[in-house]
């Protein structure tokens, strides 16, 4: 097999020869070791050897992209030609561009080489811990893996980024069962760069499993009322993602359908809310080091103390719209914690629910959402009364961010995001 630099060189030479005016290309070598548990039993051991080349090239201010994982010289040449043919068939646009020269830099993160035997032992230990601590849990699927990744990025402006990273991750999907009673399924995951700690002690795995067991006991939820919803980190992530997608992403800024289009540097959320994309935060594991457009990634605040500070834009949409590009293209979501202990947050709620998971339709362009509050608990007079079933919540994403009443002091870190609990008022909650 050719070296990663040989492949990049062949691609670079072919781009020059085919007359690309500007181009960027990335070669990736990736190995995965993965154990699967299905229906509570070990089922599969996978080892995957992947490599790929992705190219974006420009000619006459037109742009084309191509991706292949056949990395022989002939296929690379054909892929480059196909990429430029696509570009020439395209539409000229002065907004197409890549980053200016960022120099050369090499990044190393995490644990590059896997310890498959220790990974297996940690996986077995996790299964035994779940059986012992949470006997009512049925593990539908657990995937435990190590990914080793080596990427080389180059562009025609002289940038070269090389990135070596390796990480372990655990993804579990499960429900609790007792006789004919069963709960909704729930997913928990965690990503780490070492195997020093038993998996059950990481992220919110232990709490999540206990919460799901507790959901076997439900309390009636009748009628419809406006109340406080506590968004647990596991559901908060989807609300924030929907809000960004609907109000701050490439497509809605390009289409000019975002209701935040004229809200930059104005207040769009309660001042307790700070939302950052922080791939280099020490609590985030092996995240992005350079963007898809060839810039070195920097952390940035999307919302700072309630004020919209940035959209999440690529270089193209930034050039097109006149707004600044986002300083990284990751979703390494970090939300600032507040000053309310979680226990006090619950104590202060007269009537509401804690939402563990939201199963809802894609919110409309205006941010209206409605859906089922899954894996959720009723709060009455400051106390958690029991799990709820068949309960719907609805509201509006933009209003939700404005109606925050408390942000917890505690945060949950799972290696991908850092999130607190957030209590939001004026959400419509309806039982059957």
């Amino acid at each position: 097999m050719k070296d990663i630099r040989d492949i990049a060189q062949i691609a670079g030479d072919a781009l020059k020869q085919e007359g690309a005016e500007k181009a960027q290309y990335t070669v990736t070598f990736k190995e995965t070791h993965e154990f699967n548990v299905d229906g509570g039993q070990f089922s599969l051991f996978r080892t995957l050897f992947d490599k790929s080349l992705s190219i974006t090239a420009f000619k006459n201010q037109k742009k084309g992209s191509a991706f292949t994982n056949k990395l022989d010289e002939e296929t690379i040449g054909a892929t480059v030609k196909e990429c430029l043919d696509s570009a020439e068939s395209g539409i000229a646009d002065s907004a197409y561009d890549i980053a200016p020269c960022q120099g050369e830099e090499c990044f190393r993160e995490g644990c590059y080489e896997p310890d498959a035997d220790k990974l297996f032992a940690r996986t077995k230990e996790l299964m035994e811990a779940v059986k012992e601590r949470n006997p009512k849990i049925v593990m539908e699927q657990m995937i435990v893996s190590h990914v080793k990744n080596h990427t080389l990025y180059r562009n025609t402006n002289g940038t070269e980024f090389e990135y070596f990273w390796g990480e372990y991750s655990v993804d579990m999907m499960y429900s609790a069962h007792e006789g004919e009673k069963m709960t909704s399924f729930f997913s928990s995951s965690v990503t780490v760069d070492n195997l020093d700690t038993p998996f059950i002690e990481l992220g919110s795995l232990a709490k999540d499993l206990c919460d799901v067991e507790a959901q076997l006991t439900t309390v009636p939820m009748e009628g419809k009322f406006e109340g406080v919803v506590v968004l647990a980190p596991s559901s908060l992530v989807s609300f924030v993602a929907h809000a960004i997608n609907n109000f701050a992403s490439d497509s809605v800024i390009l289409e000019k359908t975002s209701i935040w289009l004229d809200k930059l540097n104005t207040k769009v959320a309660d001042e307790k809310i700070t939302v950052s994309m922080a791939p280099t935060d020490s609590r985030i594991c092996c995240s992005e080091r350079f963007t898809g457009d060839g810039f070195k990634s920097e952390n940035y605040n999307l919302i700072e103390d309630g004020v919209l500070k940035s959209f999440m834009l690529s270089l193209y949409v930034a050039n097109k719209s006149g707004f600044a590009r986002a300083k990284n293209s990751s979703f390494a979501l970090v939300m600032k914690n507040g000053d309310t202990p979680y226990a006090d947050m619950i104590k202060n709620i007269k009537k509401g629910i804690i939402v563990g998971r939201f199963s809802g339709g894609n919110p409309g362009t205006n941010g209206d959402f409605s859906g089922i509050a899954k894996n959720s608990f009723l709060i009455e007079d400051g106390e958690i009364k029991g799990a709820v079933s068949e309960t719907m919540i609805n509201g509006n994403l933009a209003e939700l961010l404005q109606n925050v009443v408390a942000v917890s002091k505690e945060t949950i870190t799972d290696g991908n995001c850092v999130l607190p609990y957030v209590a939001v008022d004026k959400i419509v909650i309806s039982g059957k």
């Binding site: 191509a66 994982n69 056949k70 409309g364 209206d368 609805n394």
Partner: protein, 461 residues
């Protein structure tokens, strides 16, 4: 066309284990015009080889991103070693699943490529039609996606074959604002199974779909919020197909049954009204080619229809060879993998509620106060059968007549309770195959159904 470099490797299969060797190539072409801006112009190709070995109840799997004889030998060796590693540590001691007589499945449809230039010109013409005819739209997007998977499958026991699944879709997105200034969006996929030239001849064939979508968007501009509560609704075929796939289909996938789905307690029980029959079709549905025909699965099982619910009774699950042995059922070709680096999982193919005898007009006329729900923008379901669908288009029904369009809402229910409320089933099916099902790996699937009169919770505001 994918070359066969694996058939000659059968002599390397280890005796006493079940072995699958698969060469696969996935292609995707994508062109996106957003407000006339070319935001995607991309061609993707992924190819490689993989092997999976089953021994005493555990699997070993390995894949390489190379289509060479050496790579085939490497993954066979690695998959065998992985199976031995697992067997050595786990020692489940399960038997080999029953043998399937050998055979061969021919290639029914070859994957053909199209120049990117043709895709771009085609999309540009549709975009120009929309922009000229409907200048007051707040925005428009036209996205063409042509994807295919092609596989050569060799198994130690079972069928070998060469299969391909190409499909081509154009996704239309139109945006406007309600009379109150609220942004609105509707989308419609146009296309289906086949290469670009099989599906599309001229851009003008898409124009009726554009016009119909625009008309619905204008109706939605005047839309009202649905009243929340437990209501009688008429689910259009797109939604009943979604119900078949999301709310029932997933609960009767045998791996999810083993993982605790509610259907584990319901086999051979009445789970729906007697008017409801549901089938996961393999390649032919009601005398016609199914939306995404599957002839052979990745475990070497020739595909046949799986009857899931018959006259309201839960009759069976969808299986792979291992789960079929566990439940004493017949494997019917549901084990499918998305890319060369993916192992086969139990997947749906073309899952549908079968049509009944009622006319749609009569069903609508029978509803005094309810809703006719025609389009959805997503759906999710739980292993409990509890489901939630986003409704992007629908109408009030008042005294048997269609009223105002409704704004985006959500419906929810518990599938096996809700299906018991079905009391009218229309005589016409609507199929869709534009989406992908997500379950560890993505997978193109077909789903369909007739209009159903039933009761569900509707979100309102």
């Amino acid at each position: 066309m994918l070359e066969d470099f694996i058939s000659g490797k059968k002599s390397l299969f280890t005796t006493g284990v079940h072995t699958e060797l698969r060469a696969q190539e996935n292609k995707q072409r994508r062109v996106a015009l957003v407000q006339g801006n070319l935001t995607a112009n991309a061609r993707l190709e992924k190819a490689g080889v993989c092997a999976r070995v089953y021994k005493n109840g555990v699997y070993g799997f390995s894949s390489m991103a190379e289509c060479t004889s050496d790579a085939a030998e490497t993954v066979l060796k690695a998959a065998t070693e992985n199976a031995l590693f697992m067997d050595g540590h786990i020692q489940k001691g399960k038997n080999m699943f029953p043998a399937i007589a050998g055979g061969s499945t021919p290639l029914y449809k070859a994957v053909c490529d199209t120049e990117q230039k043709r895709y771009i010109e085609f999309v540009k013409e549709i975009d120009a039609y929309i922009s000229e005819k409907y200048p007051k739209l707040s925005s428009r997007s036209v996205i063409l996606s042509a994807d295919s998977m092609e596989k050569i499958i060799c198994t130690s026991d079972g069928y070998d074959g060469h299969v391909a699944l190409p499909r081509t879709y154009i996704y239309l997105f139109l945006n406007s604002e309600s009379t109150a200034g609220v942004p609105l969006e509707l989308f419609d996929p146009v296309g289906g199974y086949g290469n670009f030239d099989d599906v599309f001849k001229t851009p003008s064939q898409v124009y009726p779909a554009v016009d119909a979508l625009y008309e619905r968007l204008m109706q939605k501009r005047e839309g009202v919020y649905a009243e929340a509560g437990y209501k009688t609704v008429v689910l259009g075929g797109i939604l009943s197909g979604m119900l078949a796939h999301e709310a029932v289909g997933h609960t009767v996938e045998a791996d999810l049954v083993l993982g605790g789905s509610v259907a584990g307690q319901m086999l051979h029980k009445q789970v729906a009204s007697e008017l409801v029959t549901m089938v996961d079709f393999a390649h032919t549905a009601l005398g016609e080619e199914a939306p995404l025909p599957v002839y052979l699965d990745d475990e070497g099982v020739p595909a046949e229809d799986a009857v899931l619910i018959q006259d309201g009774m839960l009759k069976g699950y969808m299986n792979n060879r291992e789960s079929a042995e566990h439940f004493g059922m017949k494997p019917q070709g549901n084990a499918r993998a998305f890319e060369f680096s993916d192992e086969p999982l139990i997947r749906m193919r073309n899952t549908a509620v079968l049509p009944g005898n009622d006319k749609l007009e009569d069903i609508i006329a029978s509803v005094e106060d309810g809703y006719y729900l025609t389009n959805t923008n997503n759906g999710q379901a739980d292993m409990t059968g509890e489901f939630m669908f986003g409704v992007s288009m629908g109408y009030e029904i008042k005294n048997g007549k269609l009223g105002h369009a409704i704004l985006d809402t959500t419906i929810s229910g518990v599938a096996f309770d809700m299906l018991k409320t079905v009391d009218m089933v229309s005589d016409k099916m609507v199929w869709s195959s534009s989406g992908v099902c997500g379950k560890k790996q993505p997978m193109p699937v077909g789903m369909g159904g007739p209009a159903l009169r039933c009761k569900v919770m509707i979100g309102g505001r």
